[in-house]
């Protein structure tokens, strides 16, 4: 008795108790088994329970590669070589003679997919073809035809497709089960490619997915197309005021949005693009690098409004280590330095009434440089969340003092800095800054005057929390109205006093490491 002569219900049952690998092996045993298995209804086949699946066309080697991973980490790799006209699997190479390797690959794939009943964790289609010289010109079409014939949606949680055009993506996407798809990731050969997405965004698969990733410029995508995703990475060439409105609303209404992952990126040529395409032509994608959103503010009015309306907590940390503001007779300088010593400098020229930044000079027309500089500083301070190592204000100009003080009052946030240097000729100058420094972070306070013989009353300064909390003090001028109690808490003191009482001197003499010059 030969097994293949067994009645059909018996063979059905034997197949039912065999695993997927065994059934594929049985196909190779003899022609009768092959015909019997291929004619079986899919429901009678055992579940292959594969976890991942991938198909890739390899141009350099002229191969088509199909891979699967099983639940026990078993890995199956079929390589179909155009050059050798062969299929390699499991160390065994079969000559395909006159058969088209694409046909064979797709037939094998179909056979395996017939067994898959459970959901793939991940499926990857990397079958994009260069239009000018396609090596496997019919691969996409044949794959689509196979899926149509299979008459069953591919169940996968993550779907990756790499393609050159919407048509390429659409040759796969509709054949995926929308119910099981969670993450859709679309790639193109390089990130500057622009692909229309209108048909893709219409699919059930797109609408049902929870997460989208597009590694190219997505065209014809509206905010309505992406608002259902809980996780979005999409690059757009153009961002409309409506999209910005939507984003602002989302960001301000959701407390749990991780804004560090919300990013706009502007290519270097943004100004050129802006000129060519109008003021709102930018690249935006999710993820926000600290300084770029300041640049972003300059791109268009919509973006400026968008960013300025955001709550400070939604803004990324600019992570500067030092901020320096200086003014001389002809200019104001604002310098920001990162921990790696790279820096940005804004120079505001009194004579030209202009702002220079990054080699670019902007005429400020009828605005005052002081106003512009303070506004810029405000914007930057809004982004600064980490503690600055050093902050320096050279604010001898009374006008600058008043405006700076007003701005800092409006900012409603203390400047976190470890070292604070203020250069001013008067008590009011020091007091326009000092109360706005965070007393918790302040370690060292240095107060400078224009010349060392100046005498400044310190009674208001010493009452501040900042003074009382600092560990070190340096004053290069004569401090008036000071008591020994006011400096007693400092571990390092450099002070000049006009008078010192015998009692104070006695106390100081008792402190070790004290150097007193009379």
């Amino acid at each position: 008795m030969i097994i293949t002569e067994m009645p059909e219900p018996v063979l059905d049952k034997i197949i039912e108790f065999s695993d997927f690998k065994a059934v594929l092996t049985l196909r190779q045993v003899c022609r009768d088994f092959l015909n019997f298995i291929d004619d079986l209804n899919d429901s009678k086949l055992p579940d292959s329970k594969l976890l991942t699946f991938g198909i890739r066309s390899d141009y350099t080697e002229n191969n088509v590669i199909v891979c699967f991973m099983g639940p026990d980490d078993s890995f199956y790799r079929f390589v179909y070589s155009e050059v050798e006209k062969s299929r390699s699997f499991n160390g065994k190479t079969t000559n395909l003679k006159d058969e088209d390797i694409v046909d064979v690959a797709i037939r094998d794939l179909e056979r395996i997919l017939k067994f898959q009943k459970s959901t793939f964790q991940w499926s990857c289609f990397n079958i994009h073809q260069l239009f000018r010289r396609p090596k496997f010109p019919n691969l996409e079409v044949k794959l689509s035809n196979m899926f149509r014939k299979l008459n069953r949606k591919i169940k996968t949680e993550i779907l990756d497709i790499m393609a050159y055009s919407q048509v390429g993506f659409m040759s796969i996407l509709p054949f995926v089960d929308p119910e099981t798809l969670k993450r859709l990731r679309l790639f193109s050969m390089n990130k500057t490619v622009r692909i229309e997405m209108n048909e893709i965004a219409e699919t059930e698969q797109w609408k049902n997915a929870k997460s989208i990733y597009c590694y190219f410029y997505a065209l014809k995508v509206t905010v309505d197309d992406i608002c259902h995703f809980s996780n979005v990475f999409i690059k757009m060439l153009y961002i409309s005021a409506r999209v910005l409105d939507f984003l602002r609303e989302t960001i301000t209404s959701c407390s749990n949005i991780d804004f560090s992952r919300f990013k706009f990126e502007i290519p270097n040529e943004n100004e050129e693009m802006s000129n060519l395409w109008g003021h709102a032509f930018i690249t935006a994608y999710l993820g926000f690098t600290n300084y770029s959103c300041l640049t972003l503010r300059q791109v268009s009015r919509d973006l400026r409004n968008f960013i300025d309306d955001l709550k400070d907590s939604k803004l990324p940390d600019s992570e500067f280590s030092t901020i320096e503001m200086g003014k001389d007779d002809i200019s104001i300088r604002l310098t920001f330095q990162y921990p790696d010593y790279s820096q940005h400098q804004f120079v505001y020229s009194e004579i030209e009434n202009s702002r220079s930044f990054n080699g670019k000079t902007t005429n400020l027309e009828d605005e005052y440089i002081v106003d512009v500089a303070i506004r810029d500083l405000e914007h930057i301070l809004k982004f600064q969340k980490s503690t600055l190592r050093w902050t320096y204000f050279d604010i001898v100009d009374p006008n600058l003092q008043v405006k700076l003080s007003n701005m800092l009052t409006k900012l409603n946030r203390k400047i976190k800095t470890e070292i604070l240097d203020i250069k001013s000729g008067s008590l009011s100058g020091f007091m326009s800054i000092l109360p706005f420094a965070d007393p918790e972070t302040l370690e060292s306070l240095k107060l400078f005057s224009l010349n060392e013989d100046v005498r400044i009353e310190m009674d208001e300064v010493v009452k501040t929390e900042q003074w009382r909390n600092a560990e070190s003090i340096y004053c290069n001028f004569y401090a008036l109205n000071m008591k020994i109690e006011d400096i007693y808490h400092f571990s390092t003191v450099f002070m000049k006093m006009r008078h010192i009482s015998a009692r104070d001197l006695d106390i100081l003499k008792k402190v070790p490491n004290t150097k007193i010059e009379l």
Binding site: M1, I3, P7, V10, F17, L26, Q28
Partner: protein
């Protein structure tokens, strides 16, 4: 401690279930039927055991045989070898009125016997036993290569199969030619 308690509690409900059966037994005496295979050896099997076979169960449920009639008319299963039928009868007796276990390890290990048993069980429509047998057949070749499977199940390769077919055709052709020649000779 608890295991003894559990033991007694599980034993307790078992008694009432067996009691009605034994009490009911004298009222409806169990009927027996007779079957024989190719070797004509007659096996006496209770109707309860035969219930496993959908085929025999269907046959006897309409007959209404008396004990004597049943004895006089054993069911002939000429297509089943005597030893295979014995195996089937034994299995039915063993599993009479019992829920079948998830696995049966007492099946023949030899390919020929197992295949014959599969055919007999399939014919007699004994669903559970067929499941065990098919599972065992599938297990025989699990993890084996196509070549090994051919060896285990004694399947000829396609080339051998074709050659055998050709040979058979050739022989048939020759025989036919021989017959016609003989017929012609006769006619002469």
């Amino acid at each position: 401690m608890s295991s003894t308690e559990q033991g007694t509690s599980s034993a307790a409900p078992a008694e009432p279930t067996t009691a009605p059966e034994s009490a009911a037994a004298p009222e409806v005496p169990e009927s027996f039927y007779y079957v024989h295979g190719k070797d004509k050896v007659v096996h006496k099997v209770s109707a309860g055991a035969l219930q496993h076979s959908a085929l025999i169960h269907g046959m006897i449920s309409n007959l209404g045989y008396t004990e004597e009639q049943a004895k006089a008319n054993p069911f002939p299963f000429e297509n089943i070898d005597g030893d295979i039928l014995q195996m089937v009868v034994d299995w039915c007796n063993q599993h009479k009125g019992k829920p079948t276990p998830p696995e049966d390890t007492n099946l023949p290990k030899q390919k020929e016997k197992l295949f014959d048993l599969v055919l007999a069980v399939n014919y007699l429509e004994i669903k559970e036993l067929l499941t065990y047998c098919c599972k065992q057949v599938a297990m025989m070749v699990k993890g084996k290569s196509p070549e090994e499977i051919r060896e285990i199940w004694m399947i000829p390769t396609d080339a051998e199969d074709e050659a055998a077919e050709k040979e058979a055709k050739k022989r048939a052709g020759k025989e036919a030619a021989g017959e016609t020649a003989a017929a012609a000779g006769d006619a002469k």
